[in-house]
């Protein structure tokens, strides 16, 4: 994980202050990204449904199967 890498870098190496600032900035961004991703999955839902629907439309034909359903 990139965050783990960052922390090992700044804890074990002699980091220049400018580099440190960059790394901390990057880490903060990653943390925010992860937190957002944990709580927002709408895009993912859309993507998955689109793909499954596309498949059942061309593959099995309409009405043949209940198909999966998103809850």
């Amino acid at each position: 994980m990139e965050l783990e890498q960052i922390i090992s870098e700044i804890e074990t190496e002699d980091v220049d202050v400018d580099v440190l600032a960059e790394k901390v900035k990057r880490a903060a961004l990653l943390v925010k990204l992860c937190k957002t991703r944990l709580r927002n999955a709408e895009e993912e839902v859309k993507k998955i449904m689109a793909e499954i629907e596309a498949d059942s439309n061309e593959g099995s034909g309409p009405g043949e199967d209940d198909g999966p359903a998103v809850e």
């Binding site: 944990l38 998955i48 793909e51 499954i52 498949d55």
Partner: protein
């Protein structure tokens, strides 16, 4: 041709009476149920078989009367967690019947569930052994469960009891994590469950790239009819699923074979949901921990740097002063020694100059003249040799005060002492005695 014959009825009656004589009493028999039907009145009709190497070697009809069946099936379920159904091997207490119309049949009076339990255990063991041999037992466990299993393919019956609990638990978790879950409907109970679940698993396999994990859940309430989860085909399908499979089949007894081959086994659908939520939670905890460590470390590092800067600044405050004063002292020392040296030097030069001045003063022609010497010129040129003028020539003599013009009467040439005379006249003037040093 005078043959004697009897009617079919007479024959069957004879068989019946012979049979009841020969097979009086009851018999404990083991057999496999091939078919089982209950009619509206609750009577149960079975087809019993015995197989050897998949060939039927014996087959007989059997009946369990309604009042008996209610009692027996209840007892059977209580101890095996299974209902009496086709494919099962049972040990039963039977009375041999022969009916003139319906022929031979066994009337079942009792069933011993421990035999079926033993059979089930033996079969289960065989299935596990087969899976082990084929390398399927650990196959799904080898899959890597993603760090954040957020996209979930769910196999369940929409009518199953645990189904609602599961989605509730997932969707209303207290950390507001969002899961993407797609239901792949299947029967999870009854005879068709196995094939139905296998089909759902295959479909999920087709969409493996869209999901992190597959979940098989089954309502928590009833603990009956888990048999399909002990079957080889379903277990093999779970083992071969390209996604990690988590089971929440909802039972308290020993793991089913499906549980054993699954990546992760949970007891109930709710437990599966909790497991998934806690997975995300531990991921976030880890992230937060990492962030805190980075912050703490950065703060400490900055503090260090600030302190270093501070101490450098302080050093800058007094170090230059020290350096400057040291330099100044040296300079002062130099200055004073320079003064002394210069004075000495100047004094020496002064003396020399005085001496030179004195010598110069001695040499000044005016001073020479003042001392009584005179300069004689002939034709404007200083006369140094008497032989250069002849009798009657005019010479001009310059004294300290005034000039004399004379006419030469006699002249005497200089002899040996001429040099001496010259030396007495102007000591040092011709360059031999004028060394100032």
């Amino acid at each position: 041709m005078n043959k004697t014959s009897c009617s079919l009825y007479e024959l069957n009656t004879a068989i019946k009476s012979a049979m009841s004589m020969a097979f009086s009493g009851t018999y404990w028999v083991t057999a496999e149920i091939a078919e089982l039907k209950c009619n509206q009145r609750g009577h149960c009709y079975l087809e019993l078989v015995e197989k050897a190497d998949d060939k039927t070697v014996a087959q007989t009809k059997a009946t369990i009367w309604a009042y008996e069946y209610r009692k027996l099936s209840h007892k059977f379920q209580a101890s095996t967690n299974e209902s009496i159904r086709p494919g099962m091997k049972i040990m039963f207490l039977a009375v041999v019947n022969f009916h003139e119309v319906y022929g031979l049949s066994l009337n079942i009076k009792d069933i011993d569930p421990t035999y079926t339990l033993g059979e089930m255990a033996r079969k289960r063991k065989e299935v596990i052994e087969r899976l082990r041999k084929e390398g399927l037992l650990e196959l799904n466990k080898c899959l890597h469960l993603p760090l954040v299993p957020q996209r979930i393919a769910v196999i369940s019956s929409p009518t199953a009891a645990g189904y609602g609990d599961f989605f509730n638990q997932l969707d209303t978790n207290r950390y507001s994590y969002q899961f993407v879950h797609v239901l792949f409907p299947a029967l999870v109970q009854g005879q068709d469950a196995e094939g139905s679940i296998i089909e759902a698993l295959r479909k999920i396999g087709k969409f493996r790239h869209l999901f992190d994990v597959a979940v098989i859940i089954r309502g928590g309430g009833s603990a009956v009819d888990l048999n399909c989860f002990d079957n080889y085909a379903l277990a093999a399908e779970i083992a071969g699923c390209p996604l990690p499979v988590i089971t929440g089949i909802g039972h308290e007894k020993d793991d089913t074979v499906a549980d054993i081959v699954a990546h992760t086994r949970m007891k109930t659908p709710t437990a599966v949901a909790e497991f998934l939520v806690s997975g995300l939670r531990s991921f976030e905890d880890n992230i937060i921990d990492l962030r805190n460590r980075i912050m703490t470390y950065t703060a400490r590092l900055l503090q260090d740097i600030r302190y270093r800067l501070y101490s450098l600044a302080r050093q800058l405050g007094y170090v230059p002063g020290r350096v400057v004063s040291a330099r100044l002292n040296k300079l002062l020392l130099l200055q004073s020694s320079l003064g002394n040296f210069t004075n000495q030097r100047l004094q020496k030069v002064g003396y020399t100059l005085d001496r030179i001045g004195q010598a110069l003063r001695l040499l000044d022609p005016v001073n020479v003249l003042r001392r009584g010497y005179s300069i004689t010129r002939h034709d404007g040129k200083i006369l140094k040799d008497a032989s250069l003028v002849s009798k009657g020539a005019s010479i001009n003599t310059t004294l300290y005060k005034g000039n004399i013009v004379s006419i030469i009467g006699t002249q005497r040439r200089a002899r040996n002492h001429e040099q001496e005379q010259a030396a007495c006249l102007l000591p040092g003037f011709d360059g031999t005695g004028a060394d100032n040093q």
